[in-house]
C-alpha cells in the first residue's frame, strides 16, 4: 500500500467556539491520531467567519465533518462522540489500522 500522506482529507465545519464544536474537534483529532496516523489532514472552517462556504458543501448542521477524500463525499454530523460511528461514517476499517 502506498504510504502517501493525506489519504483522508477532512473538513470540519463549526460555528464559533461552542462547546459542541470544540468537543467535535477534540474527538476528531483523537480518532484520527489513533486510526489514521499520518494519513489525514483536517481543515477547520468557522462558518461565522466564512458564511459563504456553507452552501458549497451543503452544510446545515453544526458541527459537520465532511470527508472530501477519498471520494465519494461523506458527511457526519454531531460532536463525533461515538468513535465507532465516526469510523463507520468515514468508512475506516478498524482492522487495517
Amino acid at each position: 500500500m502506498s504510504s502517501s500522506q493525506d489519504d483522508f482529507v477532512l473538513r470540519l465545519y463549526v460555528a464559533g467556539q461552542t462547546p459542541k464544536c470544540l468537543r467535535a474537534f477534540t474527538n476528531l483529532k483523537r480518532i484520527c491520531e489513533e486510526y489514521l496516523t499520518n494519513r489525514y489532514r483536517i481543515e477547520m472552517i468557522d462558518l461565522l467567519l466564512d458564511p459563504g462556504l456553507a452552501r458549497g458543501d451543503q452544510i446545515l448542521a453544526v458541527p459537520t465533518l465532511v470527508r472530501r477524500m477519498p471520494e465519494p463525499v461523506k458527511k457526519i454530523i454531531g460532536d463525533l462522540s461515538n468513535t465507532q460511528r465516526v469510523l463507520a461514517g468515514l468508512e475506516v476499517s478498524v482492522g487495517a489500522a
Binding site: 451543503q58 446545515l60 457526519i76 460532536d79
Partner: protein, 477 residues
C-alpha cells in the same frame, strides 16, 4: 409602480402586501409584516407559486428584496417552474434583489453521532439576508428536513428557534408545508408558526378541478373566513374574493342605449341604467344573441370597451352571423374595443369560470360585459351553485360600474317564470323573447318583464330580425 408596501390597518397590525390579486383584499392588506405565515396544502396546490409571487412582487413592486430557501427543488427547477408565469427569478438574482439557496439533505449521505444544532442553516439564511438586504423570506418546504435528519427533537427545537429568529429580525416570512392527515401540516408546524395560516386546496369533482384558498388563522386581524376560489393561469396566481360586496355600490342615473331604438323607448326612452344588470331570456333562436350584439355595437360606437363571454359558438361564427343582420362587430374586434372570451363551459368548474371571468374583467376593464349564455354554466353546477356564482359576478360588476347583459336559454317546454326565477331576481331588467305561431306564421315577440327604477312598457311587442338588425314592428313605446 411603487406603492406603500405596508399599511397600518385600523386594527393596528401592519401588513406586507403580497401583490397577489385578491389575496391582499381578503387579508385586509397582506401578510403580517415582520412575522411568519404558514402556507399549507397538498402536492401541486400552488404553495410554491404563492410563495414565489410574494417574493417577486416584493422585489418588483414594493422594493423589498427577498430570500428563497428551497428544500425540495433546486434553484433552476423553481426558476423554470415559475418562468411560465412571467417571473424571471435569474434576473432578480442578477439584480441583487433575490437570493436563492437550495438546501439539500440526503439522509443516505449523512451519519449522525452526538449533539448538533442547525446553526449552518442560520448562517446560510443570515448570509443570504445580508447579501440582499432581504425583508421577505420563503422557506419551501422546510419540513423536508424531517426526512433528512434522524433526530426529530433537535429539529423541532431548532425550528422553534428559527421562527423566533425570523421574528426577531422583523422578516416577513412564508413557511410552506405539506398538508397532513387530519392536520394542517404533516409535522405540526402550525404549532410554531401561529401568526397566520393559509390553506390551499385542490378538489376534483366530476373531473373538473377547483382550487380554493382559505385563511385559517390571522392573529390580530380581521380576514375573510370563506373559501375563496383561486386561479393559476399564465398570469400567475389570483384569488377571487367572494364575500358579498353588499349593496354599497352607487346606482347610476345615467342611461345607455340598448342598441335598439325602439327598445330604448320601451325602457322609458333612454335604454338601460349604466351599471345595471340585464337578463335576456328566451328559447333557442328567439334573438337573444342579436339583442346582445346590438348592445355591444352601441357601446363600441360610444367608444366603450365590451367584454363578451361566449360559450356556445366561436367569435368568428358570431361575428359572421351578426353581420348578416347588419351588425358589424368586426371593426370593434379589430380596434380592440370588443373582446371575445370563448370557452367551453364544461372545460372548467364553476369556481374556475368565476375566477376567470373576474380576472378578465379586471384586466380588460370593460364598461359592458355580456355573458352568452349564462345557462351554459348550468351544465357545470347545480342551480344553487350557479345562482350563488351569478350573485358574485353581479356584485362584482356592479361594484366595478360595469353594465352586464346575461342571455339565458329557456327550455322549450317550460314557462319563463318557472325556469328563470333564480336568476331573474338578481337582475335589474328582464327582457323575455319568444317566437309564436300566429296565423301560421312565426312571429317574434319581446316584452319587458321588469325593469327596476324606470317606467317601462308592459306590452308585448312584436319584432323582426331584418337585414338592418332587430326592429320592433310596432314601434315600441
Amino acid at each position: 409602480m411603487q406603492q406603500p408596501h405596508s399599511t397600518l390597518t385600523r386594527h393596528g397590525i401592519p401588513k406586507a402586501a403580497t401583490g397577489i390579486q385578491g389575496l391582499d383584499e381578503i387579508t385586509n392588506g397582506g401578510l403580517p409584516l415582520g412575522r411568519p405565515t404558514l402556507v399549507c396544502g397538498g402536492a401541486g396546490s400552488g404553495k410554491t407559486l404563492l410563495a414565489a409571487s410574494f417574493l417577486v412582487n416584493g422585489a418588483r413592486l414594493y422594493g423589498e428584496p427577498g430570500v428563497l430557501m428551497t428544500f425540495e427543488e433546486n434553484g433552476d427547477e423553481i426558476a423554470s417552474d415559475v418562468a411560465s408565469f412571467g417571473f424571471d427569478l435569474p434576473a432578480l438574482v442578477d439584480e441583487g434583489k433575490l437570493f436563492v439557496d437550495y438546501v439539500r439533505v440526503e439522509r443516505s449521505e449523512i451519519e449522525e453521532t452526538g449533539e448538533y444544532d442547525l446553526e449552518g442553516l442560520f448562517v446560510r439564511l443570515d448570509h443570504a439576508i445580508r447579501s440582499t438586504g432581504a425583508k421577505r423570506i420563503v422557506l419551501d418546504t422546510i419540513e423536508s428536513l424531517f426526512s433528512g435528519l434522524n433526530d426529530a427533537n433537535i429539529l423541532r427545537a431548532e425550528l422553534r428557534r428559527l421562527f423566533r429568529w425570523l421574528k426577531d429580525r422583523n422578516l416577513t416570512a412564508i413557511i410552506t408545508a405539506e398538508r397532513g392527515e387530519g392536520t394542517l401540516t404533516r409535522h405540526g408546524l402550525e404549532e410554531y408558526v401561529s401568526d397566520a395560516v393559509i390553506l390551499l386546496d385542490q378538489r376534483v369533482t366530476e373531473q373538473v378541478s377547483t382550487r380554493r384558498l382559505r385563511v385559517v388563522k390571522y392573529r390580530g386581524s380581521h380576514h375573510g373566513t370563506n373559501e375563496y376560489p383561486f386561479l393559476i393561469d399564465r398570469d400567475g396566481l389570483s384569488v377571487l374574493p367572494v364575500t358579498s360586496l353588499g349593496l354599497e355600490h352607487d346606482a347610476s342615473d345615467e342611461r345607455i342605449s340598448s342598441g335598439v331604438r325602439e327598445l330604448d323607448r320601451m325602457l322609458g326612452g333612454d335604454g338601460y341604467f349604466r351599471g345595471s344588470t340585464v337578463l335576456v331570456s328566451g328559447t333557442a333562436g328567439t334573438g337573444k344573441t342579436s339583442l346582445a350584439a346590438h348592445f355591444a355595437d352601441a357601446a363600441c360606437r360610444r367608444g366603450e370597451r365590451v367584454l363578451y363571454f361566449l360559450f356556445e359558438e366561436s367569435p368568428n361564427q358570431l361575428v359572421r352571423n351578426m353581420r348578416s343582420i347588419g351588425v358589424d362587430l368586426k371593426p370593434w374586434v379589430d380596434t380592440g374595443l370588443l373582446k371575445f372570451t370563448a370557452e367551453r363551459s364544461s372545460r372548467a368548474g364553476l369556481e374556475t369560470h368565476l375566477a376567470s371571468m373576474y380576472q378578465s374583467v379586471r384586466n380588460f376593464r370593460p364598461s359592458v360585459t355580456i355573458v352568452d349564455a349564462v345557462t351554459n354554466l348550468l351544465t357545470v353546477g347545480s342551480q344553487n351553485d350557479v345562482h350563488a356564482m351569478l350573485m358574485r359576478v353581479i356584485d362584482f360588476l356592479k361594484v366595478s360600474g360595469v353594465t352586464g347583459l346575461f342571455s339565458s336559454l329557456t327550455a322549450a317546454d317550460s314557462s319563463h317564470e318557472e325556469t328563470q326565477t333564480g336568476i331573474s331576481s338578481l337582475m335589474d331588467t328582464w327582457i323575455a323573447m319568444t317566437v309564436d305561431e300566429v296565423n301560421r306564421e312565426r312571429q317574434r315577440f319581446l316584452r319587458i318583464l321588469k325593469s327596476r327604477g324606470m317606467a317601462h312598457s308592459n306590452r308585448v311587442h312584436s319584432f323582426a330580425i331584418t337585414d338592418n338588425g332587430l326592429r320592433l314592428t310596432d314601434g315600441g313605446g
